[in-house]
Amino acid sequence: MDSTVNIESNHINIKSFVDERIKTFELVLSELEAMSKKSKDYFVKTLTKDNRIDNALLENYQFESHGFAWFETYRIGLRETFNWLIRLKDSNKAAEIDYNILLYSFAEYVSQMRDGIMISQTEIVRLSDIGITKNDFKFADEPNVNELISFGLSNELKKDIVNSLENGIFPNLGLNDETLEMIQDQFRKFTEEEIIPYANEWHLKDDLIPDQTLEKMAELGVFSIAIPENYGGLGMGKIAMCVVTEELSRGFLAAGSLGTRAEIAGELIRLGGTEEQKKKYLPEIASGNILTTAVFTEPNTGSDLGSLATRATLNGSDYTITGNKTWITHGARSDLMTVLARTDLDKKGYKGLSMFLVEKPRGNCENPFPMDGMSGSEIEVLGYRGMKEYEIALDDIKVSKKQLLGEEEGNGFKQLMETFESARIQTAARAVGVAQNALELALQYAKDRSQFGKQIIKFPRIFNKLAWMVMEITVSRQITLFSAREKDNDVRCDIEAGMAKLLAARVAWSSADSALQIHGGNGYALEYPVSRVLCDSRILNIFEGAAEIQAQIVAKGLIAR
């Protein structure tokens, strides 16, 4: 068939266009894989000294190696978006918008990989930085691939994508499971009715999410998803966690983040706790009776947790803990802290750290820390409100030896690392939810607002933004669900989980920014929820591994793998 003719006519059948080119997509993926090997070899060669990856060299090549992490993030993102569409096709569920998004994602990301990936708004990684040449990209100039790219980048295609959105048709989530779909449906409803109508007010008043809402979430089982059945949880796995998290975050980031705390504490105890600790705490966390808070960061140690200074000293059968902690989310309204502290002063770095389960009375806004030896104050923040962050001082707090996680010293950091996969996946799902929120607000506004006698959605600069958002949201979601699936199948996925977090956080911010842009001046008004979404989305690039740290982890993992 003559495809050039096809492209020029407005009504090309996207389904058959893609179906006839499955081989081309596969070719692109295999070319990218070959390039990835080449780049990896380049870094291994460049960074190896005395038969191992040299940290000083890695730091010299930080920008370049992070560029490689991003290149791989794009590649895995495309692969999983492709697999998503194939699964949809196989179950007869692929709609036009799904095909369009696949094509657009390939066209856009392959072009960026060739010409430069924006790893932040002020840094672009080029091929030469990562040991690849233009010559390696020759395949993209072959007619098949070239045609795919030029159609994938066309206005026609973006218009079609946004047309579907206008008709209320969003890309398929690709859950492919009746139970997960029901979960999604129920949490969508819950969020629509119990979160969205109040979220902006909570944000503007800097309120805690009300206790009643928390209770409803507990009843629905939000805190019990990841906790095993024999400890009072549902043992449902990471995909279910992602579905619930995305839906709640779509309403309000803090709503999707309440579960994060249960997830971190739950995973710490499940993986590192003694039987007694598991029996004592897991059922209470699952039921929502105990709210937990993660107490790791200190004023002088954020990304570099290994250098933290809070001390825990054993006197008889009790430890006393002393130190300053900061950025403690939900610090007041919580009952159990997981505190990372140094038990061994002789061991520098990670090795001397231990994790403690410290019970505390629940505080409120008037009296946040009703406990001897514990004081603190609220940190006022741009967004991510609803739980409140605190700076906390711990002054000779007494904790029984039995509260040392696993009842063995020196494992704190290792125990924390074991939770990273889950926490990154969960955070990626939060970011996808926030981005989706931005997209939906932008779409609605672009339909409602007219200028120059037209709905603004009809202008290419507006529908282009919407198409971009929904495309990148889909790629982020699919790489997130992929990591979750791997995790559920007990396959190591720390790198993929890091990629999901890395990409989804960038997409949340860029989507929120574009959504605000589409709102024009109104977007800058506190009254419009999109202004909140902008503030909320900004945090995702900072916590759970700041973007630079996350890229570092991915790069290191890839090069060492």
């Binding site: 139970t179 449906d185 089982g221």
Partner: protein, 251 residues
């Protein structure tokens, strides 16, 4: 008391309905489907009655294609005990056909209360409950906004009627159709969604029932509602009256 709750799978109320280009109906491909909201209220009512010890078993019945199993499953996740799917081929079912099928199922199941939405939000017929009552010869209590069980086993049903509320007493077995204000349906919790996976759904082929459920009506054409025209602002009341009189000709 055993309750049979009839539920229909319809296009989700949030979806923007699009008419097919050939005007034979509305687009359903890749469109989100859900339980008819009035039926959800019926399920909720049955579950509440069961929680209060007034209903012993809740059976969910849906008539449709395989996909209607999902709708039944939602009812099971809300707290019903088991489900029945009567499978029909891809014909347009009308309330009379549905009523005949429900009657058949009633003969097998002998429920004391048959409860369903007052209407489905897709075709808005508002006929099925009444037809079932006629075919089974049971009393009917339609548009229920409150439901109470009496000591003697009868039900007191408050109905929303023009100009107010009317409370009637019906003997069981009976047919109840639900109105919007009866209750607010719950969300299915994760534990209940997991439990629902174990609950049984029986499938019956409608052709095995030997009923005449063929349509009596012929759909000629389906059209979009006319687009709303932009309004105008009038400066004052006299201007408004003038326009109502002379332009709109309504007074």
């Amino acid at each position: 008391m055993k309750a049979l709750v009839c539920v229909k799978r319809v296009i989700d109320y949030n979806v923007k309905i699009r008419v097919k280009s050939d005007k034979t109906g509305v687009e359903t491909d890749n469109v989100k489907m859900s339980m008819n909201p009035f039926d959800e209220i019926a399920v909720e009512e049955a579950v509440r009655l069961k929680e209060n010890g007034l209903v012993s078993e809740i059976v969910i019945l849906s008539i449709g294609q395989d996909s209607s199993q999902e709708t039944i499953r939602t009812g099971l996740a809300m707290g019903a005990d088991r489900g029945i799917l009567v499978k029909v081929d891809d014909i347009l079912l009308e309330p009379l056909g549905v009523g005949k099928i429900i009657k058949e199922v009633c003969e097998k199941e002998n429920p004391e209360m048959i409860i369903m939405g007052k209407q489905a939000i897709d075709d808005d017929c508002n006929q099925t409950g009444q037809i079932v009552a006629t075919l089974t010869n049971y009393p009917q209590a339609t548009f229920a906004s409150e439901l109470k069980k009496n000591e003697d086993g009868t039900l007191n049903v408050t109905r929303e009627v023009d100009g107010g509320l009317e409370t009637i007493k019906v003997k069981i077995p009976c047919v109840v159709t639900t109105d919007l204000r009866l209750n607010e349906p719950r969300y299915a919790s994760l534990p209940n969604i997991m439990k629902a996976k174990q609950k049984k759904i029986e499938t019956i082929e409608s052709k095995d029932l030997n009923l005449d459920i063929s349509p009596r009506l012929e759909v000629l054409e389906v059209n979009d509602p006319p687009e709303r025209k932009a309004g105008i602002k009038v400066p004052d009341v006299s201007n408004l009256v003038e326009k109502l009189k002379n332009e709109a000709k309504v007074i």
